[in-house]
């Protein structure tokens, strides 16, 4: 028994030591399910960063990195947990780039990542609930929490002197989370939310919903829904009955479909969605070229998630999750040399020499609070029936 204990202790020691090895990184995304059209380019983005680091030969004395894909399904927590369990126990991954949807991400985190002590960096889970999840410091995300979007929305509206709004949200985790975080932020800033009511997607008639919203009143209607779904129905009914003339749209509502549906009928409406005009986005697009779509949602975030994980390993001098987890925030934020996409080799060199880097990446990463992106948003306004940028914040 004593011998066995000694052996395991020795094994644990050597695992932490820096030596050339083949590091496996799990990429767990919903390759099947509701967002299956987005995930291929997200995975390509992450694998691009992994390849860049692996090919440089600079990580941990020439270690190589191999990605292993698994399917989160986006909706089935059981299947996602099983997939993550397989990655950790059978493939022996040192970190997980993922998962994508908020629900499966928290399931994997609490059932597989935390019990096994593996770091997770999600590129796209935006639920505010993940900010307070019990994660032992293992969970990060390069996507901003919707709580942050609520704050940004409040700032946009307050700057225009709008202090009374009605809110309607699509009845799911995204809509409810966003509407609640917005209400909290808006009321804290001294505004009034006259009503915070849900609407169901996929209905033909929203006159009853709009009747209630109109009765509650407000200077503007905040529609936290989907442009291809009930969100547009609500806007249409509100315009038809003359209940509201101007609206405020969070990310789910902003798209070319909005212009096509309403054009100049919603003149003066405002909104915001995650976006950045930083140098990194352009550089990222250049590196990717035609290999895959670099502007597809959450693809740059995926590149950044994988890059951050590997840079943290280099900074810690170890691929052991329990060691490098403390370095993720350090490499992501100032001070240090700013690192753009394609400069991962340079970053690895600086870190190897004991220097400090500030990973900027494709999405101007800045991790705040419990390890989530501060988030950059593009504020828009509808002018002459066209969505135009006001500024980035």
């Amino acid at each position: 028994m004593k011998k066995l204990l000694a052996a395991t202790a020795a094994a644990a020691l050597t695992a932490g030591a820096a030596q050339a090895e083949d590091i496996k990184i799990g990429i767990i995304l919903g390759f099947t399910g509701p967002i299956e059209s987005l995930t291929p380019s997200m995975a390509d983005g992450a694998e691009l960063a992994i390849k860049e680091v692996s090919d440089s030969g600079l990580l941990l004395d020439g270690s190589t990195v191999t990605p292993v894909r698994a399917d989160s399904t986006c909706v089935d927590a059981g299947a996602a947990t099983a997939a993550a369990e397989r990655l950790i126990t059978s493939d022996g991954v040192k970190g997980i780039m993922g998962a994508d949807c908020s629900g499966v991400t928290s399931a994997i985190l609490s059932n597989a990542a935390v019990p096994n002590g593996v770091v997770m960096i999600s590129p796209s889970a935006t639920s505010p609930a993940l900010s307070t999840a019990d994660d032992n410091g293992l969970f990060f995300r390069t996507a901003p929490s919707d709580a942050r979007q609520g704050v940004v929305m409040t700032e946009v509206l307050m700057e225009q002197g709008i202090e009374e709004v009605a809110v309607t949200y699509t009845n799911n985790d995204y809509g409810k989370g966003l509407a609640d975080s917005f209400q909290a932020a808006f009321e804290e800033a001294g505004g009034t939310v006259t009503i915070n009511a849900a609407h169901e997607d996929g209905k033909a008639d929203y006159s009853a919903e709009v009747g209630a919203l109109a009765s509650a009143g407000g200077d503007r209607l905040v529609v936290a829904g989907y442009v291809d779904q009930g969100g547009s129905g609500i806007v249409r009914a509100a315009l038809d009955t003359g209940a509201f003339d101007t609206f405020h749209f969070p990310d789910g509502m902003i798209g070319t479909q909005l212009e096509a549906n309403f054009g100049d009928e919603i003149e003066g409406s405002t909104g915001q969605h995650p976006g950045t005009d930083s140098e990194g986005a352009t550089v990222f697009a250049e590196i990717v070229g035609d290999a895959f779509d670099s502007t597809s949602p959450f693809t740059p975030e995926s590149y950044d998630a994988a890059a951050l994980m590997l840079l943290a390993m280099q900074a810690a001098g170890s691929s052991d999750p329990s060691v490098y987890k403390d370095k993720v925030m350090e490499v992501a934020n100032a001070p240090g040399e700013p690192i753009l996409p394609g400069e991962l080799g340079k970053a690895l060199e600086i870190l190897a020499e004991g220097g400090d880097v500030d990973y900027v990446g494709a999405t101007a990463v800045e991790l705040i609070g419990p390890g989530e992106s501060a988030g950059n948003y593009r504020e828009i306004v509808v002018e002459d029936g066209v969505i135009s940028t006001v500024k980035y914040r």
């Binding site: 609407h199 033909a204 006159s207 009853a208 009747g211 209630a212 109109a214 038809d240 009955t241 209940a243």
Partner: protein
Amino acid sequence: MDLLNALVAFANFVFIPAVAYGSQLALGALGVTLIYGILRFSNFAHGDTMAIGTMVTVLVTWWMQSVGISFGPLPTALLALPFGILGCMALVLVTDRMVYRFYRAQKAKPVILVIVSMGVMFIYNGLTRFIIGPDDQRFSDGERFIISARTFKEMTGLDEGLAFKTTQGITIVTAVIVVALLFWFLNRTRTGKSMRAYSDNEDLALLSGINPERVVMYTWLIVAALATVAGVLYGLDKSFKPFVYFQLLLPIFASAIVGGLGSPIGAIAGGFIIAFSEVTITYAWKKVLGYTLPESLEPDGLVQLLSTDYKFAVSFIILLIVLLFRPTGLFRGKSV
């Protein structure tokens, strides 16, 4: 002035939408009630019959729009409506020939026919999705408003706007015409009378020489016409989405049962009862009360009895109450 504002707000958000919705439900419920009265089963495929008729109309409308045929300020769909009705009639007659006649010949129990109609419902459902897809389709054109909220405010100087959409106007007018035609047909023509006789007492009707197959055929033709008109009006006023038509089954059946299955007048009354209860119970009365009540009594809350999420629950509750206390419905139809 305040009273006028209250009245306008009430009309804009409660009265006009409920009347339009009620007319659409009434037309749907008339179809269900005719089938129940004459063919003696609850036709679960009715919502999808509406969808099929509307789909044909939508396709013809698109074709007309592409070759430049228009109906001036009125929606082109009204011109395409007869084609939709013909398409729907052809389909239900083929269905009757291939499916229902077999069970009729066997004198199958109504409950078997109900299950058969569910099978037909799934086939129709698939057919619609296969041809036009599951997505939202817009096919309305022409003038959108008779009075828009903005012009009404400018005209009257009131704080509240009143919007009256062209489609709502058309719905109400068409519903009145169709219902008048139907009652004239049932009460005045020979075929209509033979249908009512067949409904009242099948054996007696057969004895007096009424051809049952003819009655069945006429019933299907009328039902197809009613379903298509109801479906097109609903689609014009709201939007056309196959799944929504499937969901409409609940309020339509609730309307027919509340009014009394088998009773055409009951179906119309039921349609309006369901529509008005759905809208009034989920409406937030804060604004209207704010205008009418003196300042000291003005409500702080929304004065909303039920959140709009529970709209469909209203139909269920009314259905339950009626079935518990008056199973034959308000107008003494057949018991279910």
